[in-house]
Amino acid sequence: MKTMFRMLPILAVAALLAGCQGPCQKIDRISAPALTAGGADFTTYVAAGTSISAGYQSGALVDRHQIYSFPAIFARQIGKTVLLNGQGTFSEPTIDKDGIGTDALGNPVGIMKLVALPDSITTAFSVLGAPNNLAWPHPYSNLGVPGALMSDFAGLANAGAGYFPAVARGQGSIRNLLLAQAPTFVTLEYGANEVLGYATAGTMPSVALRTLIPAMYVDSVKSAVRTLHAQLPNTKIVLFTIPDVTSIPFATTLPAATVSLTTGLAVPLIGTGSSGSSGPLTPGKDLVTLKAAYFLNQGYGIPVGGYNFINPAVPGNGLPLPNAVVLGDDEKSALQTMAATMNDSLVAITLRTPYVALVDLHGLLADVKANGVWYGATHYTSDFIAGGLFSLDGVHPSDMGHVVICNALVDAVNARFGSTVPRANPADYAHLTSFSARPTGPATRAAMLHAGRGDLGLAGAFPQRY
């Protein structure tokens, strides 16, 4: 018995270990590696570019997506504040309510909304918004302008057109507004409109333009980089390659063929090529853009006796789809060649310019199209509507798509300049955006159809130059 009591201290130690403190406690959270600027300086960040930089999504520019543009996400990663009213330390020309977009006729409409599954997209339930940060006393940090060309960076030719008044407010060229802020870090995302603008219009530039456009683009890029560096020798600049037309769902969602209702075999759709002549398309080479849905809905493009997959109740009328909604193989190749020339020049500029980094947007979107992006157990893809990475217009990335672009930007900047900018966490940006309630009654649905928008309603909401 005595030995038993002598052993009690040992038992007590054992019991203490059993009711442990330190080892039993929950693990501490792990913080992201601290932001360090390395060779870059993130004090003042200004973004210039197209609708992608602006955060244009689902056919409109609206504040609730402008705050999730990749420059805005990147700004948060480098410690800036981005507010819905556009008045954070990374300021933006925000537009309220359901934003401002344009329909095919150029009328202003709000953002597209997905109304009823499986595929009813309309702007009929959107409330047109207005810029609500026009009185901001400085140039905006985000100078992305939907529809901008590289030549619009320094030029004033389009100062009164489209979204320029909302962003530049007549105060000068985008370049001068950028320089006025003396930024230490700049992103220049241009080139998409030079190439993809033709894709969305379904047209092909002339032979001369196919050489001239890339040359003008490269010239404008070099001039911009030179001017910026001369005035701001310590500023770092990031350029972006131009995505391939086949990596966006706009060009790859609708098939170029359907099935025959009699034989069950595949039959190609009928379309008008770049030369003006019509005939069957070549599936696998010719592409049909989302804008074709408007015409398919009425039976155009579907051979007689073919299955109308957009609107099965309407039989195919055998008439061709207009050239504007067909991206023929020759048109596609011409645009791909132009983009390749432009991208090669961007790579060359970056290689010889130590203060320039390059984000390979072209490679990124091609990889995403092929493999998607896994986040935990969820697979995000470039699929239209259901993929999660592209918005309802099939061209512009969704908020989540912007996270993917931002993280590519983060990686490029960290690799080039030795900084440690933390990547954005997709979980912070995966949310519901474009849903709205079902139409309230049959009258509204009839009005929707009457407007000629059909079930997809896309043609009505997609502008020529975004």
Partner: protein
């Protein structure tokens, strides 16, 4: 719209759960005798009670008379997780509910004929329990929210004293195993959304007890009175669970269109089959009595976890949903050192063991957060009763598990650092006559 996942199941025990002597990584439990555990499980040569039935059947010839032993352990497990990139991201922390498990042991040993002995034993050589808090928001919920692996092993062994200082043993095992796995299924990105997903169903898989046979063997050699060397081997066993059930329960989201699509595409309740791989274990032990009343022991154990290559689920009605988790476990090593000091009426014991992880980095998961372990044990024993026929042994094992990082290598599941701690307190009560 198709759902990503169709349920999977099958248990694989959590490495952290196995306290006791020769706890290998993975899902081994070598909590099989309080006296041996007091010495950090270095029992292959040193064991001298009825738990030899498990640790080294050859030792049965050295036990006097009849022995009956009942034992149990209270295992309590604490596991938590901190996230890094890419998923679930920095700043996320998760915890498992504190687990409490009670693997039992029962042993009976006796002699027959001049040099023969035999033993019967029932114990739980493998096991796992995983139960994450807040299952509906747990970031690893598509992998597992709650999982269980239970085993019961029945063993019959015989031993023969070839010479007074050399014994051999051989036994047969009947291993019964049962599993349960629970998961939450999430939708793909909701159409028109920017990546939002919602919980749409719960999956519950259950199977067992199924069984299979195995064998074990041992040898004990005493070249000198104060030196013993032991060898013990346990053969691998694969248990096929063919009649498991998979149940899917929809979680209504309130979005009627989504709910109807989920209702259409959710797999029906159906049968599911899987195979559980239980690895072979080879132990070499040495025991030395340097001073009167003292024994020092050393054991080296290799567990052939490379037998665990993947975790497969085969569905009866929807074979398209069949899933295979690649695990590619690696053989692991454990080394234990322990000491025992026998006094007049009591004994005290202490020991340390190191047990290497079996899971490669990319297989570390919320179901199997395997890691290297360091065990520290303390034990006490008393002879009780008028004739000292009763033996009571108690021990405590503090199992310090190294933090295990996924190093960003895990695909499609949690990346971050797992922290675990296990404590085991146990006792054995034996009667010999």
């Amino acid at each position: 719209m198709r759902l990503h996942r169709t349920v999977l199941a099958a248990a694989v025990a959590v490495a952290t759960l196995a306290p006791a002597a020769a706890l290998a990584a993975g899902y081994g439990i070598y909590e099989q005798g309080a006296a041996v555990l007091g010495m950090a499980g270095a029992g292959t040569a040193s064991v001298h009670d009825a738990s030899a039935e498990f640790y080294n059947p050859a030792v049965l010839t050295r036990l006097e008379g009849r022995n009956f032993q009942l034992g149990g352990t209270w295992l309590s497990t604490h596991v938590s997780f901190a996230g890094t990139e890419p998923y679930p991201g920095y700043g996320v922390t998760e915890s498992m509910k504190t687990g409490n498990f009670f693997p039992p042991t029962v042993y009976w040993t006796n002699h027959f004929a001049k040099k023969w002995a035999y033993g019967l034993g029932v114990n739980a050589p493998f096991g796992l329990g995983v139960d994450w808090e807040n299952p509906d928001t747990f970031t690893g919920r598509t992998h597992v929210t709650k999982g269980l692996l239970r085993t019961i092993n029945g063993n019959f062994s015989m031993a023969y004293a070839v010479r007074p200082n050399l014994s051999l043993g051989l036994g047969v095992d009947a291993l019964f195993a049962g599993v349960e796995l629970n998961q939450v299924m999430i939708s793909p990105p909701l159409p028109g959304s920017s990546g939002a997903t919602v919980n749409v169903a719960r999956a519950h898989l259950e199977g067992g007890y199924a069984s299979n046979y195995g064998w074990n063997a041992g040898a004990l050699w005493m070249p000198k009175p104060d030196w013993k060397f032991g060898l013990a081997y346990r053969a691998p066993i694969d248990v096929d669970i063919n009649d498991g059930t998979a149940k899917f329960t929809q979680i209504r989201t309130g979005n009627t269109a989504l709910d109807s699509i989920v209702a259409l595409s959710l797999p029906h309740d159906q049968g599911v089959a899987t195979t559980l791989n239980f690895p072979s274990v080879l132990s070499l032990g040495a025991a030395w009595d340097p001073l009167p009343g003292w024994t020092w022991a050393l054991d080296v154990t290799r567990t052939k976890w490379s037998a665990f290559k993947s975790l497969d689920f085969r569905f009866q009605k929807t074979p398209a949903a069949d899933t295979s988790y690649v695990e590619d476990y690696e053989d692991s090593w454990r080394i234990s050192v322990g000491a025992e000091h026998r006094l007049a009426n009591s004994t005290y014991r202490f020991g340390y063991y190191y047990d290497g992880a079996a899971a490669p980095t990319q297989s570390v998961s919320p179901l199997l957060p395997d890691a290297n372990r360091h065990g520290v044990t303390l034990g006490l024993g008393w002879k009780l009763g008028a004739k000292k026929a009763w033996n009571l042994d108690v021990y405590n094992l503090a199992l310090f598990v190294e933090n295990r990082s996924t190093d960003g290598k895990v695909q499609r599941s949690l990346n971050g650092i797992y922290k675990s701690y296990v404590n085991a307190t146990g006792a054995s009560l034996a009667y010999h006559w």
